[in-house]
């Protein structure tokens, strides 16, 4: 994710796994597992499950960006 010192490698791996998982599960096939059916859509605390799904994976992906920016990316000028 950054171009990384040895101590950072576990964090790079963790962020990469989470980011790719979010990218594949979020908009990908995972979305069809939680939405229910057109006749009986699923809800989570009154919120459509698919909307909650979008928000959840957005938080995961944005979290990965923020952690990478603060912990991994260096200001190398």
């Amino acid at each position: 994710m950054s171009e990384p010192q040895k101590s950072n490698r576990p964090l790079v791996r963790t962020l990469t796994v989470f980011f790719l998982m979010a990218l594949i599960l979020g908009p990908g096939p995972g979305s069809t597992l939680i939405d229910g059916t057109a006749e009986d859509p699923n809800f989570l605390f009154g919120v459509p499950a698919l909307y909650a799904w979008v928000v959840f994976w957005y938080v995961v992906m944005a979290g990965c960006v923020v952690v990478a920016a603060r912990k991994l990316w260096r200001d190398e000028d």
Partner: protein, 535 residues
């Protein structure tokens, strides 16, 4: 609304021109005219870089089309917003390397870098220029045309305007005025005025997105009332469509992976990486882009699209009164709700948001107009006249802006019946897929270092030809009955077009690179050394 929209629009135009003049005064003493005109002397800070990248990334699409999709198709299109964190990641991972090598070697356009790495040849520079132009030109024309449509929305009952014995409709007048103002501030201030006006336009756009979300929440009685109403909607709107339908899961996934990157490597954004002051600027921009923009979508205009469907239901597939297409939902909600919520201030807010929608189109048009000028000057004129001075090239670039603006306005005036506009519209729908073809060579240059010049040319050619086979362009070239277009139409229903063409591009790039001569090892090593941060 009386004269409020006229006053706000007038004030907005004056502000844009003032920013253009101030940026021109600031650039008078620049040491390098060309670098200052196209890249603000590589000194843009985090506020300007963040907002100019955001404003360029989204046109009127953000505040009209996207919520319109949610209104007509439900929650599924919201998944497309997950492309934003991918783009945010790319702003630093790709952008900081582009910035560093660009500053060391004086690059201004994408072709400068790509041609320098593979060994300067007119063919590879031409291919990269073509890929960039196929993105930039349709965007300029379509955004200028959108400006006219938005002017009609702002002044729906305005009478025709007499001019030189002709009668101009409000749409034509909108195209003329917006084109003229955009052209003037781009000509006088270059990148600096484009970026500064993007700050104003970006702030207007983001505020409008969030405010419209607040309006729909208020209209439906707060969050609990909102979701209670939404839960009564047709279940098809709250679940994913079948794999063969629009906004299906595979299309969403490939869009998030590749369309985001295509928008990040298009010429106007690439030049913003060159123009950033430091890696720190791009790191902070990445955080801002990955957090602020999705919030404005997910908790702003998306809520309007979904709540709008509950507030203004479609009876038997017919749109409610006051809406001619689903894209009108944000305008409908704010026009009805703000005056009720805020009284006179609400009327001013409605006008401000309508101007913000116009700003969204203008901020994309100006960035692409400026990028088109850079590409024409550096990649065409400078190649034809290598001994031209920086001043001469900068004036040539200004001439390109004048010609391109007049051409875009003329095409808009010709109307929907014109063949040229129809062709450009077809290119517009595939513009991101064309710019995505720059991705494999960019990744090779910055990270992989295994490709060859012949491989890059072959990959780019194969990728762009593949895009041409997809509708609507494929239909125009090969006809409706072509079996090949039937296949690509089916694929387009399942996957993102840019992704399909990138697969072909990468396969050809790898195969040809395997059997052709690598770039000069010394040149390649020196390039890689310049990519590394200082010790």
């Amino acid at each position: 609304m009386g004269y409020v929209p006229h006053m706000i629009l007038g004030l907005y135009m004056v502000l844009l021109l003032a920013l253009g003049i101030v940026s021109m005064l600031k650039s008078r003493h620049a040491a390098h005219a060309e670098e200052d005109y196209y890249l603000s002397s590589r000194g843009q800070g985090v506020l300007v870089t963040s907002l100019t990248i955001m404003a360029t990334y989204f046109s009127g699409f953000a505040i009209l089309t996207f919520p319109g999709w949610v209104y007509s198709d439900g929650i599924a299109p919201m998944l497309y917003a997950l492309n934003l964190p991918v783009a945010a990641m790319a702003i630093y991972v790709i952008g900081s390397k582009i910035r560093r090598i660009g500053a060391k070697r004086g690059y201004i356009t994408p072709a400068d870098m790509i041609a320098d790495y593979y060994g300067d040849s007119r063919l590879i520079r031409g291919m990269v220029t073509l890929a960039g132009a196929l993105y930039v030109i349709p965007y300029v024309v379509m955004q200028v045309k959108a400006g006219g449509i938005l002017a009609k929305g702002l002044f729906p009952n305005a009478p025709p305007i007499p001019l030189f014995g002709m009668e101009l409709t409000i749409e034509d007048a909108g195209v003329g005025v917006l084109s003229l103002v955009t052209m003037l501030y781009v000509i006088v201030g270059g990148m600096r005025s484009v970026a500064w006006t993007d700050v104003l336009q970006g702030l207007l756009l983001l505020s409008a997105m969030l405010l419209s979300g607040i309006a729909i929440m208020h209209a439906l009685g707060g969050p609990s009332g909102y979701f209670a109403e939404v839960s009564k909607l047709d279940g098809k709107l709250l679940t994913m469509p079948e794999p063969s339908e629009r906004f299906n899961t595979w299309q969403a996934m490939t869009f998030c992976m590749f369309a985001s990157l295509a928008s990040i490597v298009q010429p106007a954004q690439w030049m913003r990486f060159y123009a950033a002051r430091s890696s720190k600027t791009l790191r902070q921009t990445s955080i801002a882009f990955g957090t602020i923009l999705p919030i404005c979508f997910i908790f702003g205009v998306f809520l309007v699209g979904l709540g709008g469907r509950a507030l203004y239901p479609m009876e038997g597939g017919v749109l409610p009164e006051g809406m001619s297409k689903p894209d009108d939902i944000v305008i409908k909600v704010i026009s009805d709700q703000f005056p009720a919520m805020f009284g006179t201030f609400g009327v001013i807010l409605v006008s401000l948001i309508l101007v913000a929608v116009m700003a969204a189109s203008m901020s994309t048009a100006d960035s692409n107009l400026h990028a088109l000028s850079a590409v024409a000057t550096r990649d065409v004129y400078h190649q034809a006249r290598p001994r031209s001075s920086e001043n001469e090239r900068t004036w040539f670039g200004r001439g390109v802006i004048v010609v391109a603006t007049i051409a875009a306005a003329a095409i808009s005036y010709a109307g929907n019946s014109s063949n040229l506009l129809q062709t450009l519209t077809a290119f517009f729908f595939l513009a991101m897929a064309f710019s995505a073809q720059l991705l494999p060579v960019t990744i090779d240059i910055l990270f992989v270092h295994r490709g060859t010049k012949a491989g890059a040319i072959a990959g780019l050619t194969a990728g762009m030809l593949t895009v041409c086979l997809f509708p609507p362009l494929g239909t125009m070239i090969l006809g409706d009955d072509s079996g090949l277009v039937g296949v690509t139409a089916t694929m387009k229903g399942l996957l993102d077009v840019g992704f399909c063409a990138i697969v072909v591009n990468v396969l050809v790039f790898c195969l040809v690179s395997r059997f052709t001569e690598k770039p000069d090892p010394e040149r390649s090593a020196s390039f890689r050394a310049d990519l590394l941060p200082p010790k």
